[in-house]
C-alpha cells in the first residue's frame, strides 16, 4: 500500500492531546456516521472547515495510513452506495455507540462521495494510530 496522509480536525486542546508527546488518540470518545470511533478523512481542507466552525481554537491532526497501521487488522471498506446504506442503518442516537465490529471502517462522507473517511474503532486500531501512524499537527 502506498502511504497516504489522512486528517482529523478537532479543538486545539484535543489535537495537542492526540499528538502528544506521548500520542494519545482515543477511539471511545467520539462518534460519527459509522458509529463510535476516531474519524480521519482524506481532505484536510474539509476537516479544517468542519472543525473551524465548531471550535474557536482548532487544528488539524495528520496520520499516515500505511501497511504498518493496517497489518493484521480487520478492515471493512464501503463504496458510496454501501456507505449510504450503512449510514441509514445506524440511528442518529447511536452514532456514539454503534460498533461495526471491525478495527477500521472505511467509507465516504454523506453527500461527499469524493471524500473518504476512516473510522478507527477498536483498541487495536487505537494502538496502531498511537505507535505507527506518525501523528502530528498540520
Amino acid at each position: 500500500m502506498k502511504p497516504i496522509d489522512i486528517y482529523h480536525g478537532t479543538s486545539l486542546e484535543f489535537a495537542n492531546d492526540i499528538v502528544g508527546p506521548p500520542p494519545n488518540p482515543k477511539v471511545n470518545i467520539g462518534g460519527g456516521e459509522f458509529g463510535v470511533g476516531l474519524y480521519f478523512q482524506t481532505s484536510r481542507g474539509n476537516a479544517g472547515m468542519r472543525v473551524s466552525s465548531r471550535y474557536p481554537d482548532w487544528r488539524v491532526v495528520v496520520a499516515t495510513y500505511c501497511d504498518n497501521v493496517t497489518h493484521g487488522l480487520k478492515i471493512k471498506q464501503f463504496d458510496h452506495k454501501q456507505s449510504d446504506k450503512l449510514r441509514a442503518s445506524i440511528p442518529k442516537d447511536r452514532r456514539k455507540s454503534h460498533r461495526c465490529n471491525r478495527d477500521i471502517v472505511i467509507g465516504t462522507i454523506q453527500r461527499q462521495p469524493d471524500v473518504i473517511q476512516y473510522k478507527f474503532e477498536s483498541v487495536s486500531a487505537e494502538e496502531r494510530l498511537r505507535n505507527e501512524a506518525h501523528l502530528r499537527l498540520l
Partner: protein, 158 residues
C-alpha cells in the same frame, strides 16, 4: 470594493435532526452529527444575490477572520480571488443539495430568514489548496463573531 455585501456565505450541514430536512450550523449539533458540511448562500426567490462576504479563518493563530467578496457570475457560478488563489464555486446539479432549504436550527443570523442553497468547488481539491497555501479555511461566515443565540447572546468569547 466600495461597499461590504449584505449577505454572507455560510458553512452549514443539511440534516433531518427531528424537524424535517434543513440547515444547521455545525456548532449547534453533536460532534457525531457534524460531518458533511457544505458552503451555502442565501437566495431570494431562488435567485442568488450579486455578492457575498466569504471569510477565511487561519489555523493556529488568533481568530481574526479575513473578509473577501464572492461575486455571482451567473445564476449558478460564483468566483473570488483570495490572495491570488482563484476560487470558483457553483451550485449542485442534482440531489437534495441542488435545492434551497430553510435554516431550521436554533441560532440567529439575518441571512437565515432566506432559504440557503449549497455551492461546491468547480475544481477538485480547492479546499485543500486553500489550507496548504493560506493555512486557513473558507468558513464563509464566522459563527463565533456573527451568529447569536435566539436571545441575542454570543456563542462564545473569542
Amino acid at each position: 470594493m466600495s461597499e461590504i455585501p449584505e449577505h454572507y456565505v455560510h458553512y452549514l450541514i443539511l440534516s433531518d435532526l427531528g424537524a424535517g430536512l434543513g440547515w444547521y450550523a455545525p456548532w449547534e449539533v453533536d460532534e457525531a452529527d457534524s460531518y458533511g458540511g457544505v458552503l451555502t448562500i442565501p437566495v431570494s426567490g431562488g435567485s442568488p444575490f450579486d455578492e457575498y462576504v466569504v471569510e477565511v479563518v487561519h489555523a493556529g493563530a488568533a481568530r481574526e477572520p479575513e473578509m473577501h467578496i464572492l461575486t455571482r457570475l451567473n445564476d449558478t457560478e460564483f468566483s473570488a480571488d483570495i490572495h491570488g488563489i482563484e476560487i470558483n464555486l457553483r451550485v449542485f446539479d442534482a440531489g437534495e443539495l441542488a435545492l434551497p432549504h430553510n435554516y431550521i436550527g436554533n441560532l440567529h443570523h439575518d441571512d437565515f430568514a432566506c432559504k440557503l442553497l449549497a455551492i461546491q468547488p468547480v475544481e477538485n481539491g480547492l479546499y485543500d489548496i486553500i489550507l496548504d497555501k493560506l493555512r486557513g479555511v473558507l468558513i464563509g461566515c464566522d459563527p463565533f463573531r456573527h451568529y447569536t443565540h435566539r436571545d441575542g447572546s454570543p456563542l462564545s468569547d473569542v
